[in-house]
Structures are given as C-alpha cells and as structure tokens.
Symmetry: C2
Subunit: 359 residues, 2 copies
C-alpha cells in the first residue's frame, strides 16, 4: 500500500499556536508529536511501500524536517504544490506519480491533521478497504457517529446487505442542522465523511478522467521519464498544471459523482479537531473539567472547564469558567469555548493591520 | 533636599509580570520606564542633593542597573537591606546616613512603586512640605480623595484653620468600609495616607528616639567614620542591626504617635496601583473600555473592559468582558477584574508546588 498524506492545509483555527508557516498539521496540538507526525506513525504498522506527503511550498521545509525521523523506516516523498487547489489536484498528482511506477498500486489518502484515538482500528479498516479497492472500487471511510454533530458532512450508506462492510454509498449530505443530525445518528445509516480514502491509482485516475476531464488532461501531460518520485523534480510541469486548473475537492469532483463508491465504516475515535473547543472531546479532563496542553501546569483557582495551552509554561485562571486560553509567548487568545471558531476574525484583523509576524 | 526612595517591596500582586527578583517597582507596569525609574525621574526637577534608594539584597543588582542612567544627573546611593523589616528601619537608616553628613538635611521619603499623574504637582507639594519640615515638623502628604476608596488608610486633618496647608493631623484611620469611606469623601477632612513624607533627618531621628527607642539605640551604634554614603560599606554593622530588630512601619511606629505631624494635601492623580484592577484608574481606556499595556496590540472582538498586558506581543479577546489577561511568555493569568487581588493564591500555589522559576 502507498500512503498519501494531504498536508497542505493552512487553517487558522488554532491561532495563535498555528500560523501560516506552521498550520495545524505541523504543530503539536495535543502535546508530543505534531499532527502530521502522528498521522505517519499511525500507519507504520501497515508497512507501506512509500509515504507521499503533499504539502505546499511555504511549508515544505518544515514538513521535510518533521518527516526526517521516519526516513529510516519507510521511503518518504514530499510533494510541494506551488499553490493550494483543494484536494482533487493533490490526489490526482499523487495518483499519477504512483501509477507511473505501479499502476494498480493501492493508495490510502489520509488528511494530516485529524485526530484518531484507535490507531490499530484505523489500520484494520485500511486493510479491509484495500481488499475492496483491489477490485476497482473507490473506498471511503465513514466514521460511525457518536453524537449529532452539525459540523461534519455525512454519508448515507445502505447497511442492510452485508455484515461489517463495505456498504454502497447512496448519497453525500452537507452539514445538517441539529434535528437532522439527531435523526441521522438514530438511523444507523449515516456516517461522518472523514476525507479518508483507499483506491487503486489507476481506478482514481480513470474516475478523474470521467468526472474531471480537465484535471485528467493536465495530469496526462506529466512526463515521468526518469524514475522520479518527488515532485520537486517536476517543478516546471507542475507549475504549469497548477496555473491552469481550478480548485476542487475530490469529494465533490469525483466521489459524489462516481458509481464506484463503497464505504467501510470506521469506529476509531476520530475527530477532525476543528478548533480549540474540540479538545475536550479527545482529551481527559482534570478535576476542574479542564484540559491543558503544551503547559507545564494549569493552576485553576475557582475555575472550571477551561481549555488551556500555555507555551510550556504556567497558565493560571481565577474565577473563570469554560474559557479557551492560549499563549504562545508572543500572542495570547482568550475566548469562551463555544466561540473558539471566531478566532478567524482575529486572523482577519491581523491581516487588515498587516501584523504579518502573528499570522 | 535628599530623596529617599523605599524600593524594598516584594509584592506578588502583579504576578506574573512581577516576580520575587523583579517586584512591582522594578517592572514596567505601565509601559516605558519602570515604577522605580519613574519615581526618580519625577523628582529630578527638584535637583535633590542625593537620591538614596533603599532596597534589599535580592533586588540590589537590578536596582543598581535601573538607576545607572541617572548617575550623571544626581548622586544615587543604593542601600541593600539584608532582610525586609518594613519601613521604619529603612527610614531610620537613611536618616542616620543623611544626618551623619548633614544633620538638618531635609529628606523626602517616597515609595518606589506608586503612580502619580501630576509630576509637577508633586514637586510643588514637596517644596511646600520642605518649608514646613524645616521648622521641625514631620510632614506627611495626604492625597485629596477622588472616590470612596476602601483600600486605602485615611488621615483626618483639621482643615479649618489655614488655606492650602499644612494642616494638623488629628488621627490616622485604617481601611474603612464603603459607607464610612463615602462619609470621609464628603467631609472634606479626610485624605488618603500616601506613605510620602518630608522631614529633617535630625527631626525623624529624634522622633524615632522618642517612640521607637530600640530602633534608635541600634541606629546609634552605626559608625560613620569614613565618608560613607552607600550602606554596602557598612554591611557588617547593618546585618547586626537588622538581625536584632523587628519589623515596623514608620506610620505605626512614629507618625501615629508623634505630636509633631503636619499634613500637606496633594491633589496629584495618585494611586498605589495595588493590583491589575487599578490600571483603568490611571490609564486611558480605548473604545472597548479596555486598557492595554506591554502589548503591541489588543484585538478585542466583541469584548469590553479588559485589562491586558501581553509581553510586547498581541492579545486577542473574543466575547469576554472585564477580564484581566496577562502574559509574560512563560506564564499567563486570566481572571475577572474584581478578583485580581486573588493572584496571591496563585503565588501561594506555585510556592506549594515549588515551581520557583515562576515566583
């Protein structure tokens, strides 16, 4: 199996810890290894033939550095896009590179910035999905929902036929309202759209050819003479492709249109960690109902439910409840947990003021 | 005039900005120069003969360093106490040193960590007080109250006799409750006890002899042969004195007992800056009713009334009101404005946990 890790995100939702050159996948949101490093470590037991990490030029150097430690365990290729064009071009490029060497090679596509509690469970699901993919299916991993989440897209699957999977996908739905999410949860037929996929390189290229002919045409121009893996060797060609194509997600561009989609359900303690407020979903709370990361200590005096990240030092809260408190030394964020998403307004304001060193 | 600056405080109320080795007087609570430096700069127009700064051994080096810039303008002596014994021994020592050179020298005693808006006003009051002190009075500066403060001690003065002052002091009162403070404010006869004094060296020594005979006896043992000013030259003798005496304030030890006290009223925009919550009293608020110090910028999204201090960087608040947010890079404090005094609980907890680098 080849593992393709999509690591080109530039989200701002973990500001001030995440910055333009150190977005979520390159930081240690939960102490210890970065999200990207955790993603790699998670799939090492599968003994992948190669790991292809698609990132962008701004983050390429840091990405290379963070991956250096794994090069003795598995070949790692870093592919630096000249500009972000959503997931379809990134997936298409990786598929084209793999297909040039191994047309029927199975590739697993994984986002670099998701949280998964059950690493072994993921590996089991990926192995099952690889079996299905071998027969020419596009396999998507559907997360078994544990709450009526309104922040995720859902897949509806026909779960009546087989036991554990795979299941045919009948439709993709956007983020639902709460009542709808509740009905999805109760139905047993709806799953969270995780953005994790498994397929053969030639299958996805054929489906891109069918549903995204313009992208396919551009990918066909790639000249793989020379045994290149890393896209840096193809910089000129790539720049041409990326200059000419529009951005599109692989979900919208291919998955929602293809009739070759199957879903494997995954009950693996998954979260996309969409903002600071997601931390209590995935971390143990202390006696004060608080979670602390990147802090030596959280001194909570008459405080409860806070989410703190403290630059390796001390965070003291007195008489406040359910606040997010993040310090990175040069920047501090304080907001109620339920408003953590609004941090993008701070980032926009920093852009307006041209305070680029904080972006 | 000699100016004696009492700079031996070790308060914790501005934690995490203030630490044991950098207490309030040695930090820049309000941007720019430190509180100690502002205290020195404030009295330079009076062209004092010497400035004597009484501090303690822990802070002596930093104190010396902060005062270096003024040595070309005025002789500065740093007197390092081996241990803090409240204000009476510090005042007594300074008086003994001055008296050894200039027995009738006028000395002004100023705390190093107070805020004064009207520097020229202070100099005018000190000049008036010096006239009164010349005739053998102990002069205290009484701050004209602007609010029914319950956090200050008060002086009651007989203001009926003279125009602008000085006024005889009829009594000293401890921190009053709100109703009492309100009646004080309305009476026109009560003033805040500022801890600022002016007297002749021989006058205060005589009064110490009368009301604090033990301290006077110890001070009498000082041998000033050799033209010493700085107490470092007398270290052995001083250690002996401080080892033997108890701590006492000059207010309680002398001022409240002496019949030679006069008060000059001072309407000079004074605050003792007792905690973070005092900042809005002395600083301009921005459009959000917030005050920011030591910050490049405060980004207030739907926030009001916050007091922020941000280590020279950015502080972003979203949807929170009337919070204190202080970051020093290695430590963060978040609490409601009205609970800023409870920061001492954080300091106590740090002591319990032996996290000494944050003290």
């Amino acid at each position: 199996m080849y593992v393709v890790i999509l690591a080109g995100g530039s989200g701002t939702r973990f500001w001030p810890l995440s910055r333009k050159t150190r977005p979520k996948q390159l930081i240690s949101v939960l102490d210890g290894p970065t999200m990207l490093q955790r993603t790699v470590e998670r799939i090492l037991p599968l003994q992948p033939k190669r790991v292809l990490v698609v990132t962008n030029r701004l983050q390429a150097a840091e990405t290379e550095q963070q991956l250096a430690r794994y090069r003795s365990l598995v070949p790692v290729d870093v592919i630096a896009e000249p500009v972000g064009r959503n997931t379809a071009p990134a997936v298409g490029l990786a598929a084209a590179i793999i297909a040039a060497h191994d047309p029927e090679g199975i590739m697993a596509v994984l986002p670099a910035d998701h949280y998964i509690r059950d690493d072994q469970g993921l590996c089991r699901v990926l192995a099952n999905a690889a079996q299905t993919a071998r027969n020419g299916w596009l396999v998507t991993l559907g997360i078994v929902p544990t709450a009526p989440e309104t922040g995720y897209g859902y897949l509806e699957a026909d779960t009546s036929l087989r036991g554990d999977g795979p299941f045919p996908v009948s439709r993709f739905v956007e983020k639902p309202d709460h009542a709808t999410a509740l009905s999805y949860l109760e139905s047993g037929r709806f799953f969270w759209n995780s953005g994790m996929f498994v397929w053969r390189a030639d299958t996805i290229l054929a489906e891109i050819g069918r549903h995204m002919p313009e992208l396919a045409e551009r990918l066909d121009t790639l000249d793989f003479s020379g045994d290149v893996w890393e896209l840096s060797d193809l910089d000129g060609q790539i720049a041409g492709i990326y200059g000419a194509i529009g951005g599109q997600s692989i979900d919208y561009g291919v998955m929602e249109r293809s009739d070759r989609v199957q879903m494997w359900p995954a009950d693996i303690g998954w979260s996309d960690l969409g903002s600071w407020s997601a931390l209590p979903e995935v971390l143990e709370m202390d006696d004060n109902g608080a979670v602390a990361v990147n802090s030596l200590a959280h001194l909570a005096i008459d405080s409860s439910g806070c989410i703190v990240s403290g630059n390796g030092g001390v965070v003291a809260t007195i008489g406040v409840d359910n606040l997010v408190v993040v310090s990175t030394g040069d920047a501090v964020l304080v907001c109620p947990r339920e408003r953590a998403q609004e941090v993008r307004q701070v980032v926009e304001e920093l852009e307006r003021r041209k305070m680029t060193q904080y972006l």
